[in-house]
């Protein structure tokens, strides 16, 4: 059977990661920005799985597992923060949330 080169997976991962970065940089809705982060995490997970395949080692899977756990925790807290921000400022535009500079 024909084989898929490992680098294709890595290229796919890199592509998804770059798209995540682009989403982070160019999107203004804070929720979308957050989703871009999830996209980046997923891209990295793909790399982990691919390398786990290459090395025939289950450790990569474990890393993905932990990334998922952390992502879930991060989503819970992050979305709670977004809720609070929206409560206080009635906006989801990330450019409007810049009081840290003061």
């Amino acid at each position: 059977m024909s084989q898929v080169p490992l680098s294709w997976f890595l290229v796919l991962s890199a592509l998804l990661f770059a798209l995540g970065v682009a989403g982070f940089l160019f999107r203004r809705n804070i929720i979308t920005v957050f989703m871009s982060i999830e996209l980046m995490l997923n891209a990295v997970n793909l790399s982990f799985i691919a390398f786990a395949y290459q090395h025939k080692d289950v450790s990569g899977h474990l890393f993905v597992f932990f990334v998922m756990v952390v992502a879930a925790a991060e989503a819970a807290v992050g979305l709670a923060i977004i809720l609070t921000v929206f409560k206080n400022r009635a906006t989801l535009n990330i450019d409007d949330i810049s009081s840290m500079k003061d």
Binding site: V21, I97, S98, K101
Partner: protein
């Protein structure tokens, strides 16, 4: 032998009372406080019985406390005959005074706090006594200082009490400074702080070093045991409750200096100059404090100066090489001085807080138990044979005569003065007619019982417990010729002092006033304690305070330190106000910078040949 149990009992009592005492009923507080000390006393008895005859030290090592380089300090405890004497004094007298306190403190606020502190004191004192090295001894040393401070300032809503506490604490710091330096030198010389190592190697050490160590230790002992020039805190320490004065500032803590000096005998016997210094300081203190005691009107102040004076005696004993005589006197003094304080406490208690002897008098019939027990102590301290004070005082004076006759004579005069002021206090308090306006009442049995026990010990303790023979195994032997003549002279001095006191305060009361008028200048000087406090104020305290204020605070702290810190802060603010332009607060900009940083990092790693 489970030595650690001895200090543990009071510590447990302290913890229980300290944490829960506020909610406990008084009976439970009493049970815990007194019970813990009694248990400790019983454990001491059991331990000593098990360890008899204690020909050598029994050391128990528990764990390594500090390990740094060649310095290794363990929490070790040791028992030898010297420790045994101290343990019995501390726990025995401590138990009696705890019992006494139940009655004395019954109507005071902070009841549980008092007992918690007392138990804590017992813990630290026992640690001090049991310690097998200088550092652990120092722990107890500082701990008893802390408890002394806490208990002097027990009535913390009164300013004089807190001031007295501070004074005790600060003056003791000077002594502790000396002690610390001595410990450093000991470690430098012997490479260890264990008593056993020090005593084994002291003979081979250079005399100059030993003299330095001895003098520095003496400085520490002067602070703790209230010797010239650091005695000034002890009279003020009478601001604490009377049981505290009896336990800490008469019977146990203040004698820690004597104990420590005796414990360091291997150093001192090879440093004769240091020994000489001790003896001279002891003689001077004994005489000097006795003269001040002549003119005091506060009953507790009289006994306070008496304590200073008697401690001077012990130092004479230690200084002339009669270590066992010093410890002997330490023990008898613990009996009769604790009794005197407790008795005066009973007097004060019966007069609802009156301390001025000019407002007492004629109490003999009203509080007979107190009178008779105190009288036992008075004859003991006056050196009337065959009571306790006679034996120990004579042992010291004989040794002093063998060392230097002038010390004997000074001691004899002091003995006369001692007899005089003690009996002056007794006569002023118990004889004549009552000059106050309170209604004296006898103290409860729980206070009188310890008095009775101590009275018995004051009368019989001297020939009952022959400490010098018991300690002959510990200390180097010293030949002191028996001299009945000298004994008779010093005894006579005491009797003369009693007689003069009787003459001046009972037979012809007017004589005292005319005497005071006749030597107006001298009386004025003595009455004001030679203005030592005022001299210290002017010579030491004021310059230090003013110097701190003008130079350290205004100049160094406000000008240099604050200036530089504020300056750095201001520069940072200036820099930050420029840099903050970068901080737009816009998350997407930050993300962009992170990305740029990542790119730079990757390029840099790539240039360096990859992350391999």
């Amino acid at each position: 032998m489970l030595l650690w149990l001895i200090p543990l009992f009071p510590l447990a009592g302290f913890a229980i009372n300290g944490i829960f005492g506020r909610r406990f009923p008084k009976a439970l507080v009493n049970a815990v406080a007194v019970g813990s000390v009694l248990l400790s006393f019983l454990w001491v008895l059991k331990t000593l019985a098990a360890g008899a005859p204690l020909n050598g030290p029994i050391t128990e090592r528990y764990f390594t406390w500090i390990q740094s380089g060649t310095l290794s300090i363990g929490v070790d405890m040791t028992v030898d005959r010297l420790t045994a004497v101290m343990l019995l004094i501390v726990t025995g007298i401590g138990s009696l005074i705890h019992i006494y306190s139940i009655g004395y403190m019954a109507h005071e606020g902070g009841y549980y706090r008092f007992f918690a502190y007392m138990n804590l004191f017992m813990f630290f004192m026992l640690t001090l006594v049991l310690a097998a090295n200088y550092l652990l001894l120092f722990v107890g040393w500082e701990g008893v200082g802390l408890c002394s401070y806490l208990l002097i300032g027990f009535y913390f809503d009164k300013k004089f009490a807190t001031d007295a506490g501070n004074k005790a604490f600060i003056v003791n710091r000077i002594g502790d400074f000396g002690f610390s330096l001595a410990a450093f030198l000991i470690f430098r010389q012997f490479g260890s702080l264990d008593f056993s190592v020090v005593s084994g190697q002291a003979a081979g050490a250079p005399t100059a070093m030993l003299t330095a160590i001895g003098l520095l230790l003496l400085l520490g002992a002067c602070g703790k045991s209230a010797q010239i020039p650091l005695y000034v805190w002890l009279p003020d320490a009478m601001a604490g409750p009377t049981p505290v004065s009896a336990l800490i500032h008469a019977a146990t803590m203040v004698t820690a200096g004597v104990y420590m000096t005796a414990r360091s005998w291997p150093i001192y016997v090879h440093a004769p100059q240091a020994m000489e210094t001790i003896a001279i300081i002891g003689t001077a203190t004994a005489f000097f404090a006795a003269t001040i005691g002549l003119a005091q009107n506060d009953i507790k102040k009289v006994f306070a100066y008496s304590t200073v004076s008697q401690l001077g005696y012990m130092f004479v004993g230690v200084g002339v090489g009669a270590f066992s005589a010093g410890i002997y006197h330490l023990m008898t003094h613990a009996f009769f001085k604790a009794l005197l304080f407790l008795g005066s406490g009973a007097v004060i208690h019966s007069l609802s807080g009156e301390q001025d002897m000019r407002h007492m008098g004629g109490l003999r019939g009203k509080i007979p138990w107190t009178f008779w027990t105190m009288m036992c102590a008075a004859v003991a301290i006056a050196g009337v044979p065959p009571f306790a004070g006679f034996w120990s005082k004579d042992a010291i004076l004989l040794a002093a005569h063998a060392h230097a006759p002038w010390m004997y004579w000074a001691g004899t005069v002091t003995a006369g003065l001692t007899a005089f002021y003690v009996f002056r206090a007794m006569f002023l308090t118990f004889f004549g007619s009552y000059r106050g306006n309170h209604h004296p009442h006898e103290s409860p049995a729980v206070m009188l019982a310890p008095l009775a026990v101590l009275a018995a010990l004051s009368l019989a303790g001297g020939w009952l417990f022959k400490v010098p023979e018991f300690l002959s195994a510990v200390f180097p032997a010293q030949e002191v010729p028996e001299d009945a003549g000298l004994m008779a002279i010093s005894t006579a001095a005491g009797l003369i002092g009693i007689a003069v006191a009787y003459l001046m305060y009972v037979a012809k009361p007017a004589l005292a006033d005319s005497f005071a008028d006749g030597f107006k200048g001298l009386y004025w000087l003595v009455y004001n304690k030679y203005f030592v406090d005022e001299i210290y104020d002017a010579a030491v305290v004021a310059p230090v305070v003013d110097g701190s204020r003008a130079v350290l605070w205004k100049g160094v702290d406000a000008g240099l330190i604050d200036g530089s810190v504020n300056g750095i802060g201001a520069r940072c603010r200036n820099l930050g106000s420029v840099l903050r332009l970068w901080q737009s607060g816009n998350i997407r900009s930050y993300a962009t910078w992170v990305l740029v940083g990542a790119v730079v990092m990757i390029v840099a790693i790539g240039m360096a040949g990859g992350a391999r």
